[in-house]
């Protein structure tokens, strides 16, 4: 199982309806990209961090491991804003407002990423995907996504085992051997995915498969209180940004 999904399955908020968590987590993300980075995104970042580590109970170590992935892209992308090409300073020169733009970009992306991580760390995809049909997504698409989701873990596990077996047979000792092993790994993943699909098809056909995959979804109701509190928090953040924007900028 992937770390974020594993954490979501054992989250304190697992039993909450995905809409509750979407309003809060994705609402924070929308605020982060739409409010001025200073102080808006900074406020969103602090709020998301407090909610993640506090009420949502996400372990700090797990959060950092997931958070450093988008952070790497953001830092690399922000570096380009520090220099300008052409102009009076020569071919390449430091950009006048580069550090400010890079800082604002880092604030915005960091805050937005934490909002999505709040949703991802508390909502397993298995809770979310079946409910997408009610949101208007065509059932066949949701079924394909569900099969993809469930089969991905089996395939990832198979690939990990094949990789271990290849390593045990000195399959990664030389560059040529590594390439050969990698090619075998990709081909094995393809063969196994199709083999699993065929076996799943046979099994489902024996149970009267009519084209729709019915799965049990844990019962949960949208909490009016939780959603209202989330909306109030988002509104307060937006209002605070507008109030502080003048004095702090």
């Amino acid at each position: 199982m992937l770390p974020i999904d594993a954490a979501a399955h054992s989250s304190r908020w697992r039993r909450r309806h995905p809409v509750d968590k979407a309003v809060l987590g994705l609402g924070l993300t929308v605020l982060a990209v739409s409010l001025p980075p200073w102080p808006g995104a900074a406020l969103v970042l602090v709020t998301a961090l407090v909610v993640l580590l506090g009420p949502a109970g996400v372990p700090a170590r797990r959060l950092w491991r997931a958070y450093r992935v988008p952070l790497g892209f953001c830092v690399t992308g922000a570096l380009t804003l520090l220099v300008q090409v052409g102009g009076e300073g020569g071919w390449v020169s430091p950009a006048g407002d580069g550090p400010l733009r890079a800082g604002e970009l880092l604030l915005r992306t960091s805050a937005a990423s934490l909002g999505v991580l709040l949703f991802a760390f508390t909502t397993p995809l298995s809770d979310l995907l079946p409910r997408l049909v009610r949101a208007g997504v065509p059932a066949p698409l949701v079924d394909v996504a569900l099969v993809t989701y469930r089969m991905s873990f089996l395939l990832l596990d198979s690939v990990r085992r094949v990789r271990q077996a290849q390593a045990a047979r000195l399959g990664h000792t030389t560059r040529a051997a590594t390439w050969r092993s990698l090619g075998g790994l990709g081909a094995t993943a393809f063969v196994r995915s199709f083999d699993r699909a065929a076996r799943l098809q046979s099994g489902l056909a024996g149970r009267g498969y009519d084209g729709t995959l019915r799965v049990l979804v844990p019962e949960a109701r949208v909490s009016v209180r939780f959603t209202a509190l989330s909306v109030a928090l988002l509104g307060a953040l937006a209002a605070l940004t507008l109030v502080l924007e003048g004095p702090l900028s």
Binding site: V85, G89, V116, A120, V144, Y149, W179, G186
Partner: protein, 236 residues
């Protein structure tokens, strides 16, 4: 590497989403039609999506010595065709955003446009063009995967340059900056992905002729005719 969450300004995020939407809707319609006509296709398409997801998680040694992940769009487009890849790519990108924190939801449209639309179409276009001119299968597969990978990152550079124009030289200067980081450095990785795709395809031709024939990559010859490569089958 996908554009991270919140990296694009809201107007750009919405615009790229709108640009990707027709391709995804077209792919979704053909996928839904296929599933309604052949319900068993759900499982095969789900397996294809899982394969794409797992392929993008493989660690790929770059020819420069570093390590990266293949996009998988070239192989996916050759095997499943670009319209289906638009949908499978969207599902994969959504999973990567929520399960791996790669990419994001506000940047999903931009990432879908580069990785699930332009990449597969460019790769498939190069592959088909080369096959029509009589280029051997594996050479066409290599250049198809190479084009898919590189075009994905070129489009990513364009998206970033449009969002963050250079103060001195505007879009062109920004394209040079982002291109040197996200596209030029990708050339050795695109070569690596091309080589990997050839290796995978060679093994698939040996071990999974049935599946490749079902997908239309290999076409069985009429009885009595001398088969082209590989034995017993000609390639599309």
């Amino acid at each position: 590497m996908h554009i991270a969450e919140g990296f694009l300004p809201p107007a750009h995020a919405v615009a790229w989403g709108a640009a990707a939407a027709p391709f995804v809707v077209h792919g979704a319609r053909s996928l839904i039609r296929e599933v309604r006509e052949h319900p068993e296709s759900t499982l095969l398409l789900g397996a294809s999506g899982a394969f794409t997801f797992v392929l993008s998680a493989l660690k790929l040694p770059s020819v420069t010595g570093s390590c990266s992940h293949p996009t998988g769009t070239g192989l996916g487009a050759i095997l499943f065709r670009p319209p289906v890849m638009a949908v499978l790519g969207t599902i994969t990108l959504l999973f990567q955003a929520l399960l791996l924190a790669h990419g994001g939801l506000t940047t999903l449209g931009a990432n879908v446009f580069s990785m699930a639309v332009v990449g597969p179409w460019a790769g498939y276009g190069v592959y088909r063009l080369l096959r029509r001119t009589g280029v051997p299968l594996m050479t066409a597969v290599f250049f198809g995967a190479f084009a898919a990978d590189l075009s994905t990152y070129c489009v990513t550079s364009v998206q970033l340059a449009l969002a963050f124009p250079d103060p001195g030289s505007g879009f062109v200067g920004a394209l040079g900056k982002f291109g040197s980081i996200f596209a030029v450095t990708q050339i050795p990785l695109a070569v690596s992905e091309g080589l990997l795709t050839v290796l995978v395809m060679r093994m698939l031709v040996q071990s999974s002729k049935g599946e490749l024939t079902r997908l239309g990559v290999l076409v069985t010859t009429a009885a009595g005719r001398k088969p082209a490569e590989p034995a017993g089958a000609v390639t599309r």
